[in-house]
């Protein structure tokens, strides 16, 4: 592997002291903090905020699912209490986004999260099959970033680089018009819980939380636009995010028990707060990551004890004695170009990847794609609309976008 040396942090998540659970609730005023300034926030501070909002929402959501499936008062009580904290943390985090950051600007940042998260995970994923799944999804979110960038230029006249700050490239990937699959096609073989490296589980669950949040965000905000082009593009890419949720969740071992999943969620929160804390450049926000990391350590340990009591299994046996966190938000341009060069034309079927030229006529997605793309493809129409513009590029970033546009037209079928 040719990744640069990384300062990894190793901690003992089962013993590292945290904040006692009954000291974790916060007042309204403590909870809602001043937002970051969109003009001078570091792009990766913004991606951390977006990611952790998704992580908290994911844990919150699962906790409700668990609560609906158990009759044990002690478990329901601990679920209710840890979930209340998750919910408060989510408020603090999501409220860091400033009011003057438009939905579309935030959308650009969502795709940046997806890209740099997935790319890093793919680079470091121990399981080769899971890694290929990540690579496959990566090229799709990579293309979403480009399509939304066109929309940002079209609707708001803004340079997408003001959001991604040159850290993530804006260029077509596997075209969005090709992401529309028969739902069954997206289903993958799952990892085996007894054999999978804990890192594979953490990668998968983190991505799953990110994709679910992205889905919710697009579905929530798409209808707020009056512009038809925007409404349709959000509808189209929103559906692809649904496919991504289906895709990544099919990697989870279905024999993981609810308690095991609960511990996994907690460990995943610790993992992610740890890298946020380690790499945050904004000292004010770093304090938040620090505090939340220590809340999660306590929650993790409480749930680890539950696992031991109810299933007789020490959490260490499932997830290892120590947790090494080496993830960080960083540029993955070289890696993504490489994957783009090799895998742009891949398609998926029966848990396998194949070149689109080798896909048989039986492939169920042919029909599905024809159906949804029958009367126009919003992610292509936005490119056409932008082509029609007469004015020569003058704002920064317009030239870049013009070049991306040519590439998008070239690969059009």
């Amino acid at each position: 592997m040719v990744s640069p040396p990384i300062e990894a942090v190793t901690l003992d998540p089962w013993r590292e002291p945290g904040i006692p659970l009954d000291e974790q609730y916060r007042s309204w005023k403590q909870r809602v903090k001043a937002p970051y300034d969109k003009h001078d926030v570091d792009a990766y501070t913004r991606t951390r905020v977006i990611l952790m909002n998704g992580v908290e929402n994911g844990s919150w959501n699962f906790s409700h699912h668990f609560a609906r499936s158990t009759d044990d008062f002690e478990i329901r009580s601990l679920l209710a209490r840890t979930r209340m904290v998750d919910q408060q943390q989510q408020t603090t985090i999501n409220w860091l986004n400033p009011a003057d950051q438009t939905v579309l600007e935030t959308t650009i940042a969502y795709e940046q999260v997806a890209i740099d998260l997935t790319a890093y995970f793919a680079r470091n994923e121990p399981n080769p099959f899971v890694r290929e799944a990540f690579n496959f999804g990566l090229l799709e979110d990579f293309d979403h970033l480009y399509r939304y960038s066109e929309l940002l230029d079209y609707l708001e006249g803004k340079d997408p680089n003001s959001i991604v700050q040159g850290k993530t490239e804006i260029f077509p990937g596997r075209p969005t018009s090709e992401h529309h699959n028969d739902p069954e096609v997206r289903l993958l073989r799952h990892y085996e819980k007894n054999r999978a490296h804990p890192l594979s589980k953490l990668h998968t669950l983190t991505l799953l939380c990110g994709e679910t949040q992205t889905y919710n965000f697009y579905k929530e905000h798409g209808p707020e636009y009056g512009n038809r082009q925007a409404r349709e593009l959000y509808a189209e890419i929103g559906e692809v995010e649904e496919e991504h949720v289906t895709f990544y969740e099919s990697l989870l071992d279905p024999t993981e028990t609810l308690l095991q999943r609960q511990v996994m969620h907690q460990l995943m929160e610790v993992y992610n707060y740890q890298h946020c804390y380690a790499h945050e450049t904004d000292p004010r926000i770093r304090l938040i990551w620090d505090e939340f990391l220590h809340m999660e350590l306590e929650q993790l340990q409480l749930w680890g004890q539950m696992l031991l009591r109810y299933e007789g299994i020490e959490p260490e046996a499932l997830f290892g004695d120590t947790l090494t966190v080496e993830f960080r938000f960083e540029e993955n341009k070289g890696y993504i170009r490489k994957v783009l060069g090799q895998q742009m034309d891949l398609r998926q079927w029966n848990s396998q990847w194949m070149d689109k030229a080798d896909v048989s006529g039986e492939w169920p997605s042919h029909r599905y794609k024809e159906l949804v793309n029958a009367d126009g493809i919003p992610s292509e129409e936005i490119v056409d609309l932008q082509m029609l513009r007469q004015d020569p590029p003058e704002r920064p970033g317009e030239e870049l976008l013009a070049r991306a546009r040519e590439a998008a037209l070239e690969v059009r079928e």
């Binding site: 009759d71 044990d72 054999r195 024999t255 308690l259 009591r309 299933e311 007789g312």
Partner: protein, 222 residues
Amino acid sequence: MRKEALLDKLSEFLMVEQCGWQLYQVVGSRTQDAELREKYAEFGAQTDRHRTVLIQLIRQLGGDPDYVSPTARVAQVKSEALLQSALQSGPLSDAEREASDLENVLLAETKDHADWQLLSQLAQALPKGKVRTALEAAVAEVEPQEDEHLQWAADKLAAVCLEALTSAPLPERGRLTRCVIDPAAPMKAIHAAPVSPRSLLETARLPPSQETPASRTARSAG
């Protein structure tokens, strides 16, 4: 003998011992009864030893004890389902919960017992040789213990249940209040669709336009 098939089976048996050991840890830490606690600790320790015996056996046959065969995965799911039943036992009284844990032990030991019986039969059927010797040694050590585990669990469960049915104080009816059901609804009426040996019961076939049994009960109760 098909060695690969045997290794798959041994992986399954090892998983059963592993989950059995987990079960003893859980029920042992939960029980309020000194006699049960002692037995759970004793059988738990023996089950721990059975794991080791199987791991050695797998190694002797050239297998990898870390390998989890497909049937082992399903065995794990079944065993974990026993443990998961605790997640649904909210309305049980303490005594009922004890009995439920004991019943889980009986179910787990039934499978465990059958596994070792099979190994014993296999050993007898094999030609003399290294595999047979290894199997015989393992069976000689473990099988008598499995007989005892199963017999004890069956006898003890019967005794506990008999006591509950004859002399023990009735569990408090209020323990059901965590389930929202119709007050004092007759058992037959709230079970709208239990499955009889032949098909659904008559009440389950009511056309949807009619009043459901549950709403009828609610009306007559109110």
